[in-house]
């Protein structure tokens, strides 16, 4: 039977292009799971999408409190999606605390679904409500409010299940999921299978969840309160091919696996658990039959130094971390640079400084990646710009590391790491090759002799007869690699290490521009802000503003044409989720009076925020030209 075809008389369908839903509830309410499952269904339906999970740093903050609220926002559409959406059209609030912390974001006249059963006096008090907001009529005027006693309906559905009250309570997120499946006409068959698989070890719970999920679906269908369901058609404007849904951390891990196949080497990961990077360690630990060795080290320093040991041994070497862990690894990065061994360091950035905001996103570590080491220590820095792009950039990191015999830093962030989007599966034959040539010939071997073009020294595996040699962190002789304290040699080594990294600019693509190659304003971004900056630029261009955007994925060195691009615009705006890091580097390197747009709230940019800033800056250009500014707005510096 086709479950999608309701047996009851069908309620009217309404077609919509894009929907932004936010699920929020107590961190024990399973909102992340609800969001993820709904995302899968949207992906399978062929929608383009983007997600933004948002959870507290504490695993279980006290139940019902504001601090314990966990949310998951998702934008899905029949068009191309760049961001998880500025503001939700639909808000599902599982308790008063969730309502209180999220309501302000809901669009006027948006759909508000609340779990009536959770609005008890106790929960209202914990959320700081003096009176019940569901009863004073204030919400009905502004929003399309649906009060559904999800707790009770779940209990009723599971009355004969034999489960405890606590166990039943845990099933209520599946009621919510079922209801949303109905509301957006999603196919429930694959989801039923999903649930069964996910809880295959607990068949009673699996059955209960399926039952509740279906109850939620049928409730939407039959209950009088919902009048319309919606249809978001599959996206057609996206490239053809086979897709899967992927988060940034998953894509990063898969990129590392791809690097193993592309290089023919084994991969060694040395890592220490840290939010939000741990998932990469978890995932790579599954793939030991791919020639991958994962080592959960005793600390961050051991993670990277063990990886350096493995690089010396001839493996692809990787360490994964986040900001505070990066700080701990600094000295060892210098060692990798000095010994000129290939090593990939992945920093999944989070709010800093110090412990900062572990679960929140921030473009916190560009300056740390650039400069955070003792001495002159240039290390190539690259950044992924979408969750799926993490795959490409992981491969790129290994390609550069091996080709140039250097540590390489890949920056992703919490937003990319946990956010998801559909990923057009790559053709493996089209991926870049990672060529490895270990030296085996002892004749004329000099440890630090360099390739004329790449300036890379040769990689030698221990175990190769006749090439026994010693390297370390002390300054090296230019050719032999023996310890050298010679003043001129030191300067020559500093220069050649810098030249090697700078030379990578010849080996990376020129910077692409979204829009015209000249104009009033260039929006220059890097990393995870790609979606918001591109969307905002496109919107402004559609309205006739002379604005283009360029999004950097190679940050050290920059693409060779970046200087020229910067000079082709009257004004340069650099939006960053930090207090201005790329802007410092760009100003120093190109002497461009770039302007910043900075947001440091642990949250991604909203498209509207960027649009407002673009308008204001274009206005400044126009004003300076003597023309009347056709837009008004405050310039945020």
């Amino acid at each position: 039977m086709d479950i999608q075809a309701p047996t009851a008389p069908a309620k009217p369908h309404e077609a919509v292009d894009t929907v932004v839903i936010r699920f929020c509830g107590d961190s024990g309410d399973g909102m992340q799971l609800t969001g993820t499952e709904f995302t899968k269904a949207a992906a399978l339906h062929g929608n383009d999408l983007s997600t933004l999970p948002d959870f507290p740093a504490e695993i279980r903050a006290p139940a019902g409190t504001l601090a314990g609220v966990s949310g998951f926002q998702l934008s899905f559409s029949s068009q191309v999606v760049y961001t998880p959406g500025d503001a939700p059209d639909v808000l599902v609030a599982m308790n008063p605390a969730a309502l209180r912390t999220n309501l302000a974001d809901l669009l006027p006249n948006g759909v508000l679904i609340v779990n009536l059963g959770a609005f008890t006096a106790n929960n209202l008090e914990k959320a700081g409500y003096k009176s019940n907001p569901l009863e004073d009529g204030s919400l009905d005027q502004k929003y399309r409010l649906y009060k559904v006693d999800i707790s009770k309906l779940t209990q009723t559905a599971l009355a004969d299940s034999g489960l405890s009250t606590k166990e039943i309570g845990r099933c209520k997120n599946f009621f919510t999921l079922g209801l949303m499946f109905w509301m957006y006409n999603r196919n429930i068959v694959p989801e039923v299978e999903n649930i069964k698989q996910k809880f295959s070890k607990l068949p009673a719970i699996a059955d209960a969840n399926v039952k509740v999920f279906k109850a939620g679906y049928h409730y939407g269908e039959t209950a009088e309160i919902f009048t319309t369901s919606y249809e978001v058609r599959p996206a057609t404007d996206i490239p053809k091919g086979k897709y899967r849904n992927i988060t940034g951390n998953e894509a990063t891990a898969l990129g590392c696996v791809a690097a193993v196949k592309l290089s023919g080497l084994r991969l060694f990961l040395g890592s220490y658990p840290i939010t939000p990077a741990s998932d990469i360690l978890h995932q790579l630990s599954l793939y030991k039959n791919f020639g991958i060795v994962t080592f959960q080290a005793e600390d961050e320093i051991a993670g990277i130094t063990a990886a350096i040991g493995a690089a010396f041994g001839g493996s692809l070497a990787l360490t994964t971390t986040s900001g505070p862990g990066m700080a701990l690894k600094s000295e060892a990065m210098g060692l990798a640079l000095m010994t000129e061994l290939p090593l990939v360091i992945i920093d999944v950035q989070r709010g800093g400084p110090s412990t900062g905001l572990p679960t929140k996103t921030e473009q916190s570590d560009l300056l740390q990646a650039y400069y955070g080491r003792n001495g002159e220590c240039p290390i190539p820095v690259i950044a992924a710009c979408t969750p799926a792009d993490c795959f490409n950039m992981a491969v790129e990191a290994f390609r550069l590391a091996v080709k140039y015999m250097t540590p390489v830093i890949l920056l992703t962030d919490g937003y990319l790491a946990n956010g998801a989007e559909p990923w057009l599966l790559p053709n493996i034959a089209d991926l870049p090759k990672i060529e490895v040539a270990f030296r085996t010939d002892p004749v004329g071997f000099q440890v630090y002799a360099r390739d004329a073009e790449t300036l890379a020294r040769q990689w030698v595996r221990p175990g190769t007869p006749g090439l026994e040699h010693r390297i370390g962190g002390l300054e090296k002789d230019f050719t032999s690699g023996n310890v050298s304290y010679d003043p001129d040699n030191h300067e020559a080594m500093i220069k050649i290490r810098a030249a090697k990294v700078a030379g990578i600019a010849k080996d990376i693509p020129l910077q692409a521009i979204n829009g015209e190659p000249t104009g009033d304003l260039l929006v220059l971004g890097w990393g995870g802000t790609y979606g918001a900056l591109t969307k905002a630029t496109d919107e402004c261009r559609a309205r006739g503003l002379k604005v283009s955007s360029a999004h950097l994925r190679h940050l050290n060195p920059f693409p060779a044409n970046l200087g020229e691009i910067l000079r082709s615009f009257k004004r340069v705006l650099i939006p960053e989720l930090n207090d201005g890091q790329l802007i410092k580097i760009v100003r120093a390197q190109f002497l461009v009076d770039a302007q910043g747009l900075n947001k440091i709230q642990g949250k991604p940019f909203k498209v509207a925020e960027v649009v407002a800033s673009i308008e204001a800056h274009v206005g400044v250009v126009k004003a300076a030209e003597g023309g009347r500014s056709h837009v008004q707005g405050e310039v945020r510096a």
């Binding site: 091919g241 898969l254 030991k288 063990a306 040991g309 090439l467």
Partner: protein, 348 residues
Amino acid sequence: MSTNGTNGTAAAPIKLTRKDFTSDQDVRWCPGCGDYAILAQVQKVMPELGVARENIVFVSGIGCSSRFPYYMNTYGFHGIHGRAPAIASGLKISRPELQVWVVTGDGDGLSIGGNHLIHALRRNVDLKILLFNNRIYGLTKGQYSPTSELGKKTKSTPYGSIDHPFNPISVALGAAASFVARTIDTETKHLQEILLRAARFKGSAFIEIYQNCNVFNDGAFEVVTDKATKSDNQVVLEHGKPLIFGKERNKGVRLTGMFQPEVVTLGENGITEKDLLVHDETAPNAGLAFLLSQLEPPAFPVALGVLRAVERPTYDQLAVDQEKKLLGSKGDGDLRKLLHSGETWEVS
């Protein structure tokens, strides 16, 4: 020729000599430093191991002792302060066929790198760890170290150290090390013997080597090394043998009813060899080894030799086994299949 007992490749085809293990670099320790003696013995025993030179790697941290790899004509890695056990772990786990040695000191291994040392030992990574204990920071010119005795006056403790010292052997045993031994730079033969045993042991092997820093802490171990006093202040452990020591070999160590050690004289009060503690380096419980590790002059002789040698699966071997098992059940990983796993859909 001896076969390779533990790791590295099969026996080398040509018998190597000490010279084959001597690099072309000038040795830069202070004249008279105990490090020379240790280097000489290590170079001497290397050919005995039957491991091809190219399959041997020396890894070190920072400090006087950590210059060691430069002087060995093997593969070598001079790391950063304290991190040698971690660097070596990564190397050994990714290349289990290599024989990996770690050279560290009391500051490098027990202070800045203490964490890495204990974790390498508890994991039982098949590393041979030589800790040169000179009870001082030499390279930084004479500050007290984590093995310096209480009250010690140094540049950073002008009024005497108030830092309780570590006993390296006790630390290693506490970290569940499977092979633990102590020897002395000047005891050439004993040092060689211990090095060989460590090399042939399958698992992490920890050797504390008393090393004289004649510049900043001369004579730190004098009572144990001086010809006149040493036999009364050291007991050389032998597996299955009672703990007998002394110039006249008439002293011994026994346990009281409360499991406390006690020095006794053979022939006095009817005491015979049968009353003495018998050394068992393979005892399943490490308690006895711990007790021996704590014996110190003047009340007791220092225990030299192998305190503990109990094999258990090594981390590197377990990693190999796990990979093999997975390859058996899942087969060689297929990238395309992996990328296409989970739910996929076509956009046409």
